[in-house]
């Protein structure tokens, strides 16, 4: 077990190195100079700026320097605001993370229950209702969901009642965090509930469930002890990439609710050809996802005793 974990950590570091390499060299292909503006900039000034931020060096040298700096925990300076990237990440990532976690928890719990409910009550109006919610979640993207929630629950509710229930701007009070987290979670919740339903139906028709029934276990025992535990497996695999989707997808929601999360910085960076910001955030997201996937894989083994962590077919 420990050997396996160590091995995985080694591979994770390798992954991150490849990630640095890939994003770094991709950045070299991006058209546009981060320092040009609407007005022509004096070539001397441009040269000085490039020299200042090391962009005048040959690409391999820049790369080596970058990797060494990353090892020291330095992701460089934001070319626009001239603040350290690590500082921006330290300030904004906790916000995105909280948003993501709130959404993920919400999506998992709701998705889980809706899925189980739909599977257990298959073919009834419970099933239809649960799947209708799921379908709406899949069909409505977060930028529309967010805008609609904000309009009706943020503005209209205030207009009708005169009470500010859900503030429109900001990320400070508990109430102000509800709408964004909900808007972000809706799609994931839908996906999870559908996956859970499918998986649950698969499991419920398997032989060991029949055995359990034959043994005379109660319905609840069958569902929870034998059904859900096995059915949750494919859903757990789904959570890894889903965490990624929530984190990177959060920027639409962050934008609509004006939340200063990392997603907002990342997209602004992309628009601005802010190389250091793009590589820095990409790298950070990448590292985060690698860790998240590691956790998911470990969880996988805990949940499904049949999976041997070491893998292979010995």
């Amino acid at each position: 077990m420990w050997k396996y974990i160590l091995k995985r950590i080694f591979y994770s570091i390798l992954t991150i190195f490849f990630l640095i390499m890939l994003t770094f060299f991709m950045m070299q292909l991006l058209p546009g100079d981060p320092f040009v503006g609407d007005k022509a900039v004096d070539p001397v000034v441009l040269e000085e700026l490039h020299a200042k931020y090391g962009l005048d060096k040959p690409v391999p040298e820049q790369f080596v320097r970058y990797v060494l700096n990353v090892c020291k925990g330095d992701l460089g300076i934001d070319l626009k605001t001239k603040r350290p990237i690590t500082q921006t990440i330290a300030e904004s990532f906790p916000i995105s993370f909280e948003l993501g976690i709130r959404s993920l928890i919400f999506a998992s719990i709701m998705g889980f229950f809706l899925g189980v409910l739909a599977a257990v009550k298959r073919g009834t109006k419970w099933d239809t209702g649960a799947m209708l919610i799921a379908l709406i979640g899949i069909s409505v993207p977060s930028f529309i969901m967010g805008a609609i929630l904000q309009y009706f629950l943020g503005f209209k509710l205030f207009q009708w009642t005169g009470v500010r229930v859900f503030p429109i701007l900001g990320w400070n009070t508990e109430m102000s965090k509800l709408l964004p987290a909900f808007a972000l979670s809706f799609g994931s919740m839908a996906s999870i509930s559908r996956l859970m339903r499918t998986s649950m139906l698969d499991v419920m028709s398997s032989d060991y469930i029949k055995t359990a029934k034959a043994k005379g276990l109660s319905r609840m025992q069958i569902i929870w002890r034998h059904g859900v535990r096995n059915a949750v497996l494919p859903v757990v695999t789904f959570l890894g990439p889903q965490a990624a989707a929530l984190l990177t997808g959060a920027f639409v929601v962050e934008n609509i609710f004006n939340i200063p999360g990392l997603g907002k910085f990342f997209v602004i960076g992309v628009q601005n050809n802010n190389y250091t910001m793009i590589t820095g955030t990409t790298l950070f997201y990448g590292a985060f996802l690698v860790v998240a996937n590691l956790i998911v894989d470990l969880l996988y083994g805990v949940i499904d005793p049949r999976v041997k962590l070491a893998g292979g077919k010995e």
Partner: protein, 601 residues
């Protein structure tokens, strides 16, 4: 001078618009569009031309407020303003964006500042006089007398001992020297080329002691100009000329100075007490500001919102007191009975043709393309506000010797009309000139309009695209890029046609017309006409304002014939303020000025 990014308009809607902001300069996001710094032609030679002392043409001052249906934010001490764009850089000598200028206007005073009518008025300088230089040319040497009661305020506790440092002549000299030092990488270095030998110093051809500015004593600055400059005072209101104290700058350090609230050095009516990046900036009345008694609003919160729905919801739900609006929002709020405010932002929006492209090299084709756009319909049916049809490159907000410069051009009969028939005939002639057999052959060149991700960019380009298709049979594509990529592509000449906005830096036709000089840094059309170059050179050297204006008229006549750019409209922008807010200025040269606001009720 600032080329505004293409369509960034009134309200940045999509995030895209918000993101686009970055760039080198300001005009980026919607409400930020106009970098407009300087000002009226007024200040030329001392008392001389009283005539041009009028406020910017076509641009009534706009203290807004009251009579609406939205009461505004609940906090009795705070007004919340949307800046649309987070200021990327608040160091005066390196910043380049309107969003930054909007915050510096409240926190950092220069020698002079603009009043409600965009006229320069005393700020840190209380008086000034001008004299002749050694060669006897009048108004080339200026002496500014500074007030001795301006002080620096830094809010961070660790910098408490810097608080109260007096603002002196040396602070200005330090900032200007920084702007002219190549290693600093100040993109607006050329602003300081107005000083004698400024450019030489930048190029390392002379020492700093030869540059035309010096501190005579702690409270006196002497400036010597490189060329006669009728609009010097207006120019000095631009943020590049604002002061920085050397001791404070060096104590805080280059990497922190003005990058966080705690390390922000203010000398104006407001100090910065909070800055949550990409969220909000909180300004509070600055107790060290000499005139603090007249600062009526204790706290101003500046938020940066990219999504237009969010802005509108925020305004209507009483969380923001001022937002910019797009056409659809104007229609809705007007129907509700909410008064809408407008101002002329001084920009001209125009089609820029790459004259090095086959076909587009023909003036007839360029003119035909411009004539085939129904500009009235565009304003009436698409942007739907007070924006006006532009017949000239110089904006309607710019003053000539007597009143608006465009009036002179109209009187001269320089104009052109939307006329699909004539345009088609002219286009055919142009095709022959360019060695193309037919419209199909022109279409086969596969040209496209380059645009960025600004809010209304796509909408506008699609309108022009369709106009050309129906009126001329010309088919062009639309090439949408990120902001930085587009700017680079146009500067490199790697485009066919591009839609641009150009905003004035000062109230003089020169700020528009010197764009098209051969080899000019912003002449992305690659237009070259020796006659035109000569006229601009003559205008630069000319002291008589009337004669000088005559040169500008001739320039516009040439532009009307050759059309390296096809003018489309002069932009007005729409915004609303809550009933709580009064005294908010939005003018051609001040995107907004919050120093004179009051809280009503």
């Amino acid at each position: 001078m600032r080329k505004k990014r293409f369509l960034a308009l009134v309200t940045a809607l999509a995030l895209a618009a918000g993101m686009a902001a970055c760039g080198g300069n300001g005009g980026n996001t919607s409400s930020a569009g106009n970098d407009a710094p300087a000002a009226p032609a007024a200040d030329s030679s001392s008392a001389a031309d009283a005539g041009s002392d009028a406020p910017a043409a076509d641009n009534p001052a706009t203290p807004a407020g009251g009579a609406g249906i939205y009461p505004g934010t609940p906090d009795p001490d705070t007004i919340v303003i949307d800046n649309a764009q987070e200021p990327p850089d608040l160091v005066p000598f390196t910043t380049t964006t309107t969003g930054s200028g909007n915050v510096l206007r409240e926190t950092l005073f220069g020698l002079v500042e603009l009043d409600e009518g965009d006229m320069p008025v005393p700020a840190v300088a209380e008086s000034w006089e001008s004299a002749a230089n050694a060669e006897g040319v009048e108004n080339m040497v200026w002496t500014f007398h500074l007030r001795n009661d301006f002080k620096w305020t830094v809010t961070g506790a660790e910098y408490a001992d810097l608080n109260g440092t007096p603002v002196t002549a040396h602070d200005f000299i330090y900032a200007w020297t920084k702007a002219l030092t190549p290693s600093v990488g100040a993109q607006y270095n050329y602003m300081c080329y107005i000083f004698k030998n400024g450019e030489k110093f930048f190029n390392g051809e002379c020492g700093i002691e030869e540059v035309g500015f010096k501190a005579v004593d702690d409270y006196t600055i002497e400036i010597e100009l490189e060329n006669p400059l009728s609009y010097l005072l207006s120019q000095l209101t631009f943020y590049t000329f604002k002061p920085v104290n050397q001791k404070i700058y060096e104590t805080i350090g280059e990497d922190k100075y003005n990058r966080e609230a705690a390390s922000f050095a203010a000398n104006g009516p407001y100090k910065m007490t909070e800055w949550v990046h990409e969220d909000h900036i909180l300004l509070e009345a600055n107790e060290n500001y000499p005139d603090v008694a007249n600062v009526k609003v204790p706290k101003v919160k500046i938020v940066s919102i990219a999504d237009s729905n969010t802005k509108l919801n925020g305004f209507r739900a009483g969380e923001i007191d001022m937002i910019g609006l797009n056409a659809e929002q104007v229609a809705m709020l007007e129907a509700e009975g909410q008064p809408i405010q407008h101002y002329n932002d001084g920009s001209t929006w125009y089609m820029q043709y790459n004259t090095t492209r086959q076909g587009l090299g023909s003036p007839k084709i360029r003119k035909a393309l411009t004539m085939a756009i129904n500009r009235e319909s565009f304003i009436k049916d698409v942007i739907k506000n007070n924006s006006t049809v532009a017949d000239y490159f110089t904006s309607s907000a710019i003053n000539g010797v007597d009143g608006p410069f465009v009036d002179v051009l109209k009187a001269e009969g320089i104009t052109f009309e939307y006329d699909p028939e004539a345009a088609k005939a002219l286009f055919e002639e142009g095709l022959a000139e360019a060695g193309l057999a037919s419209v199909e052959e022109f279409n086969a060149l596969g040209y496209s309009i380059t645009t960025d991700t600004g809010d209304t960019a796509l909408r506008d380009c699609q309108f022009y695209q369709e106009q050309w298709k129906t009126n001329l049979g010309v088919e062009v594509g639309i090439n949408q890029m990120t902001y930085q990529a587009r700017v680079e592509a146009t500067h490199q000449g790697e485009y066919d046609i591009s839609l641009f906005g150009w905003g004035p830096d000062y109230n003089d036709p020169m700020t528009f017309l010197d764009l098209w000089v051969t080899g000019g840094g912003n002449n992305d059309s690659r237009y070259s006409n020796s006659e035109y170059d000569e006229l601009i050179a003559k205008a630069r050297a000319e002291a008589d304002p009337k004669v000088r204006e005559g040169y500008f008229v001739e320039c516009e006549r040439i532009l009307n014939r050759d059309m390296p750019c096809g003018p489309i409209y002069n932009r007005y922008r729409d915004y609303v303020v809550s009933d709580k807010t009064s005294g908010l200025w939005r003018t051609t040269f001040q995107d907004f000025n919050l120093n004179h606001m009051e809280i009503l009720g």
